[in-house]
Each structure stands twice: as structure tokens, then as C-alpha cells.
């Protein structure tokens, strides 16, 4: 019972208090690059969340056996292995999403979030907590990416999850590179305002 409660707290922390995108500002490359539509952002977020959970779990289990000086390279190898697993599975079973995300799947390896959680959380905590932490941070990342993709898709092509709401091309700028920067900037401001209100209460 206790572990459930702690788990839920860890998940909420990852989504809100330590949201990797809006608060920690980590993993910006996939955040900006894969969010031209809601579904792309969501797929990228889920792929990352999956790697994060597995790597967190593994590192919390074997972390104590790894000598301090080769800690980082060992983590990197473990993460790279899981990333390749995700890459292969997606290529085989979700080929369409695999080709839209393209190079950003192997690049999950260098996503600072994954290594940062391994180093700052998984290495010091037990396996169950680490899985929940991975899940929370992963979900926080997924939600942020989905929301960013949602806004960009809505403004940039007048559609929601691929369903066209209005005829026409939309404001193309939002699908292009500059739009990614602008939308993220304004969502960050929004997130900060909402967070402040909650803290005051």
C-alpha cells in the first residue's frame, strides 16, 4: 500500500513539479523536432518513456556493482542497448511511426533526461521506485510533447490528431522550425503561471 502511494507521488512529481520539458528543460532536441503533430509528439514521448523505465530499472539493479569511474560509460551502454531494442521493435511493428521519427529514435541515447535520471535517481534508489520515477518523468515528457504537437498541429494544419477541423492549409509557420520555438516558449510561460497559482493555494 505504502509503495503504491509513493509511486503515485513519484509519477505526479515527474509530470508536474519536475516536468522534464517545462521545468528541467532537458531533451530539447526531440521536443522541438518531433512535435509537428500531436501523434508524432506522443509516439516520441512514449518511446522515450519506455527506454527511461527500462534503463532506470536496470541501472538501479546493477548500479551498485559498477565501479565509480566507469559509471557513465556503463550507463550509456545500457541505455544504448534499450534504445536499439525500441528502434528494432518499432521498425518491425510500427513502421510508419518509425519512419516519421527517423533519426530521433537512435538519438534517445543522448537525450539528457535518460542519463540524468540514471545518474541522479536510479543509481541511488531501489528498482520499484526507479521504475515509477521513469514512468513519471516519461509521462511528463510524453504529455509535454503531445500538448506541444497538439498546439502546433491545430494552428499549423487546422487538425487534431490527424482529423481536419477546418479546410485550408493552416498557419504553416507553426509546423516549420520557428513555430516549434515560439509555441514552446509560450507554453513554458503558461506552465509557469499555472504552477505559481497552484503553489500559492
Amino acid at each position: 500500500m505504502n509503495i503504491m502511494k509513493e509511486g503515485i507521488q513519484l509519477i505526479l512529481k515527474g509530470i508536474f513539479k519536475e516536468n522534464p520539458t517545462f521545468v528541467l528543460v532537458l531533451g530539447m532536441c526531440p521536443t522541438l523536432a518531433t512535435t509537428s503533430s500531436a501523434i508524432n509528439g506522443m509516439s516520441m514521448g512514449l518511446a522515450t518513456a519506455f527506454v527511461l523505465m527500462l534503463s532506470n530499472m536496470t541501472i538501479s539493479l546493477v548500479g551498485k556493482m559498477i565501479p565509480d569511474k566507469v559509471r557513465i560509460p556503463s550507463y550509456v551502454v545500457i541505455i544504448a542497448a534499450f534504445v536499439t531494442v525500441v528502434d528494432l521493435l518499432m521498425a518491425g511493428y510500427l513502421p510508419d511511426i518509425h519512419s516519421t521519427l527517423g533519426i530521433f529514435i537512435p538519438l534517445i541515447v543522448v537525450n539528457c533526461i535518460v542519463l540524468a535520471r540514471a545518474e541522479s535517481f536510479a543509481a541511488k534508489n531501489g528498482a520499484v521506485h526507479s521504475i515509477f520515477d521513469g514512468l513519471g518523468i516519461g509521462l511528463g515528457f510524453t504529455l509535454a510533447l503531445t500538448f506541444l504537437g497538439f498546439v502546433r498541429e491545430l494552428l499549423g494544419s487546422y487538425s487534431v490528431f490527424g482529423h481536419k477541423l477546418a479546410p485550408g492549409d493552416g498557419i504553416i509557420l507553426f509546423i516549420l522550425a520557428p513555430g516549434a520555438f515560439f509555441v514552446l516558449a509560450y507554453l513554458m510561460i503558461l506552465f509557469n503561471i499555472v504552477k505559481k497559482k497552484f503553489i500559492k493555494k
Binding site: 556493482m65 569511474k69 560509460p73 545500457i78 542497448a81 528494432l88 511493428y93 541511488k124 499549423g156
Partner: protein
Amino acid sequence: MAKESSFKNMVLTLLTITFVSSAVLAGVYRLTAESIEAVRIQKINRGISEVLPPFDNNPSENVYKKYVDGDTVYVYIATKDGNSVGAAVQTFTNNGYGGRIVLLVGFLIDGTINNINVISHNETPGLGDKISPQKSEFSLQFHGKNPENYKLSVRKEGGEVNAITASTISSKAFCDAIERAYRVYREDVMKKGNWDAGTGATSTNK
């Protein structure tokens, strides 16, 4: 928290981790290899079936490759009941606004364009990306045209193609890619009657 580092246990740990990771990867690779290959073939065949009339062979195996202008053009030849119905030509151009454009052009046996699909491009959304049939009717104007007696260039340059408004570069690049596909198809397949790429033999069917 962590163990003390000595040279021996550092090397040993790294080796073990790398070895285990590689073993896991090799396993997953074996499990997924078949599916990935099937997806690849399915993707090619699905693309081909979109640009050609019905066929009953496996064009992804009946392929003729030609190295031209710095890259490879693939000619997938489709047959039905042993008679060729045409070929889907995967062609490219590097002249797009955003660089490279890859097309799959379906030609009938007399060289008439049946249908065209865009495989990849980097054109500007809302402007140059109208080359893809999902975005505008631009590519439809090529259907039923035979490059033998159809001038594959934009009207501004004396051709017969209506360019996309504000995207002349993309339109010209599109024509360039089709022209390259037709050149290979005409010279190497139609003229030589090279309908069976798999064996390289000249086939008699028409």
C-alpha cells in the same frame, strides 16, 4: 554507494555490460529481422500497386537498377499472367527547393504515365509540398501523358506543365525527376525489351 575502482574491475564490468547488451541486441534483432524485412518488401509493393494497374508478381524482386547522375534509379517491373503491365520507377532529383525529392513513377508499357507518388521530399509545407498528390492536384496533370510527345517542363520555359503557384522550383524539380525516370525506362527497358530484370533475359511478351 558504488564499488571502488580498480583497473581490473573497471575493464571487467565494462566488458560484461557490453557483452550482455550485445547478446540481448542480437536476440532482439533475430526476433524482429523477419518482420522488418517483410515490412520493407510490403512497403515497396504497396507503393508500386498505387502507381500501376493490377499485377500478380512480386516487383520488389523483379528490379532493374541503374546508376545515373550520381545516384541509383530503380525500375520495378510488374507483370500479370506473365505479361508485363508496366514498371514503377523510383527516381530522384536534387533540384528541389529543400534539396532532394524522391518519386515513384508508374509507367505503362508504352511509356504513358499512369500515376505518381512522392516518396520523400523536403519542400516547404504549404508551398512546395503541393507536389504530393495528397496535398494538391498538381501531380494529377501528368496522368495519361506520354513523355514521348509531352513536354516535361513548366509553361514558363515553353513546356506543358502548369507549375504550382509560388513554387516554380519545386515544380521544375518534379519534372526533372520524372524525366530521369522516363529516360532510364525508355533506354534500358522499353527499347531493349528488357522486361524480365530478374534474369536479365529479353522477354517476348508485349
